[in-house]
């Protein structure tokens, strides 16, 4: 199934305009749970509740409020907000080219693969190859759904990648957080730490070796639960005292059910006795009912 683009856009630089499509470059694989009513495992609903009128209200009765001071709001309608959106939607305007090392990883928010349109293939590759040769990445302003985003475009795997970035005022500094700035470091200790790093150093980052074990465990247990396995991971194992006890328990059980050990005579009687038990079991342990009409049609 081909990926679905989430938006179209147009990269402009100089006099060139390159139409592109945005595809999400990552898909986080978190384990998602639905909340259920424990009584019968039914899905629940969240309703919007007004604590003043003490009743459930409809979404259409809602309006956006901006808190100007504690408890005081000015309200906006969707139309008012629409008017405030920036003009020239879907434009990616390149302002400068910089070395990627200039950008701290904290800036990066989300990543998108840029696909090209049939008409823009040549310009797209020209831009990509020129950036790769110059070892520069593009800083641009992207007007997306009315909001102006700071973005970075860079060559990636024979194509272009776009990263949305945080503005300066969205990034926190250590400030008040104690990070031991005044701690003194002894030369010999530093040398030891450096050797440790050297020991664990690798030329390449092999991401394959890292996996979300929690997710795998949850999915494994979910599968076992569904397949009817008893899931007792972490719970104490219930062990029988010994095999001899188990053997006598099994013998007693077979006797009780009227299936006498070693007495092969009267197999018919056994069978019918067994059938009788089946009927009894059905009556209490698992109620079995049938849809006779469906059955008849099936045969």
């Amino acid at each position: 199934m081909p990926a679905r683009s989430i938006s179209t856009a147009s990269i402009t630089f100089g006099l060139v305009s390159i139409p592109v499509r945005l595809f999400p470059a990552t898909s986080p694989k978190n384990v998602r749970f639905n909340l259920l009513h424990a009584k019968d495992n039914s899905r629940i609903q969240e309703k919007i509740f007004c604590p003043v009128e003490e009743k459930i209200i409809d979404r259409s009765e809602l309006v956006r409020g901006y808190e100007v001071e504690k408890g005081r709001y000015v309200t906006f309608t969707d139309e008012e907000l629409k008017k405030l959106e920036a003009q020239g939607d879907h434009a990616i305007e390149i302002s400068e080219f910089i070395p990627v090392s200039e950008v701290d990883p904290i800036r990066f928010e989300n990543s998108y693969l840029l696909g090209c349109e049939p008409t823009s293939a040549k310009a797209y590759h020209l831009l990509m190859q020129a950036m790769a040769k110059e070892k520069r990445v593009a800083v641009a302003k992207f007007t997306m759904r009315g909001k102006e985003r700071l973005v970075l475009i860079r060559p990636y795997d024979d194509g272009l990648m776009l990263h949305t970035m945080y503005y300066n005022d969205e990034i926190r500094a250590f400030g008040e957080i104690d990070h031991g700035a005044k701690a003194s470091v002894v030369e010999s200790e530093l040398g030891l730490a450096q050797r440790l790093i050297a020991d664990l150093s690798k030329k390449k980052f092999d991401a394959e070796q890292y996996k979300d074990n929690y997710r795998e465990r949850v999915l494994e247990v979910a599968e076992q639960k569904m397949a009817g396995h008893e899931v007792t991971e972490g719970a104490p194992e219930v062990r029988r005292a010994n095999v001899i006890d188990l053997m006598s328990a099994l013998k007693a059980s077979l006797k009780k059910r009227g299936v006498e050990i070693g007495s092969e005579g009267g197999a018919k009687a056994e069978e019918s006795a067994a059938t009788e038990h089946v009927e009894k079991e059905r009556a209490h342990a698992s109620k079995v009912s049938r849809r006779p009409s469906a059955k008849r049609q099936a045969r």
Partner: protein, 272 residues
């Protein structure tokens, strides 16, 4: 495949977006299932309600569930006509955390013990990495009795090859040993149906095997949707078919099993 599914409730694993996409399990036949599709209502203690299980008894029904993107079909070990009485013993040999090579040794040892007590086991791959050792059974024992019997057999196997096999459910304590799962036998519990396709690359199937085909370098992946039809034609007779056709009794096996267990016990105390 149909003889194995006859009269058995099944659980479907559905992959509407392919094997890499979102999947879900389906026990409960939807209300819009066509009326000709056989369903059987079984009360579920877990969900405190009746579940309408699919029972696949025709090529059309098989095609219907295939069209639901139900890739793997899991079947009960008992039939609607005797729902609380399994018609086979099942040893699910699970090499997770170990290797197929060890699983092969463990499966062989399970078979050896079973033959020593006069039972004839059948073998199939789970379609994934595991092996299913199955003994066709007269449906006159309860699930609990079958489980107790299997636990005793599995116990003998673990005693004989303690470095290879374990009956510890906790994966963390397996330490590279292969888990003999005798607990997969019970009301509502299922195993991958014979010939069912698994959701792995190469589309492997749960394939019947002859015991002399079980070699240490077994690659279960060679039995897949491309090869299985030719394989079964070449074999002529389905070696797993005895799981259905050769319904065995446990009565004669009981004293023999008891003898093996007490022999082992005596040997141990003699050593001490």
């Amino acid at each position: 495949m149909l003889p194995y599914l006859k009269d058995r409730p099944v659980m479907l694993t559905r992959y509407p977006d392919g094997i890499d996409g979102k999947m879900f399990y389906q026990k409960d036949a939807p209300a819009f299932a066509p009326p000709w599709l056989r369903t059987e209502k079984i009360y579920s203690e877990d969900s405190q309600r009746e579940i309408s299980y699919f029972v696949i008894d025709s090529e059309e029904a098989l095609a219907y569930v295939a069209n639901l993107a139900a890739i793997t079909i899991h079947m009960w070990s008992s039939r609607i006509t005797h729902l609380e009485r399994p018609d086979w013993l099942l040893f699910d040999i699970d090499p997770k955390g170990s290797t197929t090579r060890v699983a092969v040794d463990v499966a062989r040892e399970v078979a050896t013990v079973l033959r020593q007590i006069g039972l004839e086991p059948c073998l199939k791959t789970s379609g994934q990495m595991g092996l299913h050792v199955v003994v066709g059974l007269k449906p006159k024992y309860t699930y609990e009795q079958a489980r107790m019997f299997s636990e005793l057999v599995a116990g003998v196997v673990v005693k004989r090859i303690p470095k290879l096999a374990t009956i510890n459910r906790n994966p963390r304590t397996r330490e590279g040993r292969v888990y003999i799962d005798y607990l997969q036998l019970g009301h509502g519990k299922t195993i991958a149906a014979t010939f069912s396709v698994r959701t792995l690359a190469g589309a492997p199937v749960s394939a019947p095997m002859k015991w002399d085909e079980l070699r240490p370098d077994l690659d279960p992946g060679i039995y897949n949707i491309k090869t299985i039809v030719a394989r079964m034609a070449r074999l002529g007779r389905d070696p797993f078919r005895d799981a259905l056709d050769n319904q065995q009794n446990l009565e004669e096996a009981m004293p023999r099993l008891e003898e093996i267990i007490s022999d082992a016990g005596r040997a141990k105390s003699a050593q001490a």
